[in-house]
Symmetry: C2
Subunit: 165 residues, 2 copies
């Protein structure tokens, strides 16, 4: 296994792990709180907000692709031009998906943490602190995943440039 | 000018125009409404929500890069490996930026249009219809820009693969 392929394997494992853990963290996220003053039980669940559902879907797609592309890299030693191009295109699509999922979750998270007086959306993270922290962790992991898939694109291009002429 | 370079120029012009128009549409977005029943004047401005400020910033960065990289493509005929790699890396970064900006604006827009009863964030687009429509237009343009920069990555890789061995 050459140095380039070794690095690719490490990055694909990393891309899979980051997005898989991100999916688990957001997909299991829920918190229930009792507010004694109001004698009220309130719950926060990840599927209440479409941005978090999108983040979960994106992480599932990305981790599945990460695993599949890892197996492809390990089994297919002499890759054709077409399969190299396909992997670069799909790696770039994963960058876009993870970035948009991270962006969406971060936008909602910002309102959750700080609220917005102009539209009268109150903050909720003062009540659901643990829930918000889990969303934040999943967002950071997903964005780190985007950086990993970006690195895979760069690595593939460098490999193409290094080919003997 | 070869076919590949011509297509690259067209795509860079398109990437610049899409993100520039997206920046203008969101950056000039505001709406004021009088609510006679309450004798109240209410305003929606793009910089009230950090997701829209982020979308604007991303569109400004991307359109500036689009223009700069267009000039570079037009003036630099024989690109070195380093400059090709740099352009691919930056094109991929633009994909990530535009996707995250589009994702953030779409997440907030969804709440604006439909509200969310779980966190008690009320919809606002029934009052500020034109404002929300402009945000939606800017979001779609930005995401189209992401697709254009993705196409530029694919084009560059195909060009590298076509090089005489």
């Amino acid at each position: 296994m050459s140095g380039g392929v070794k690095l690719e394997v490490v990055l694909r494992v990393l891309g899979f792990v980051l997005s898989f853990v991100a999916a688990i963290v957001v997909g299991l996220d829920k918190q229930t709180k009792v507010i004694p003053a109001l004698d009220l039980v309130v719950s926060a669940k990840w599927h209440y907000l479409s941005a978090f559902v999108y983040l979960f879907a994106v992480d599932i797609i990305t981790s599945s692709y990460g695993l599949l592309s890892l197996l492809l890299t390990l089994t297919n030693k002499n890759q054709s031009n077409t399969s190299i191009l396909l992997l670069i295109v799909l790696d770039t699509v994963m960058v876009a998906l993870l970035s948009s999922g991270g962006g969406a979750a971060m936008a909602i998270g910002m309102i959750g943490y700080h609220g917005n007086s102009h539209v009268m959306w109150n903050k909720v993270c003062d009540i659901f602190g643990r829930f918000c922290k889990h969303v934040a962790v999943s967002t950071v992991l997903s964005l780190a995943g985007a950086v990993v898939f970006m690195s895979l694109v760069v690595l593939a291009v460098v490999d193409l440039q290094k080919r003997p002429k």
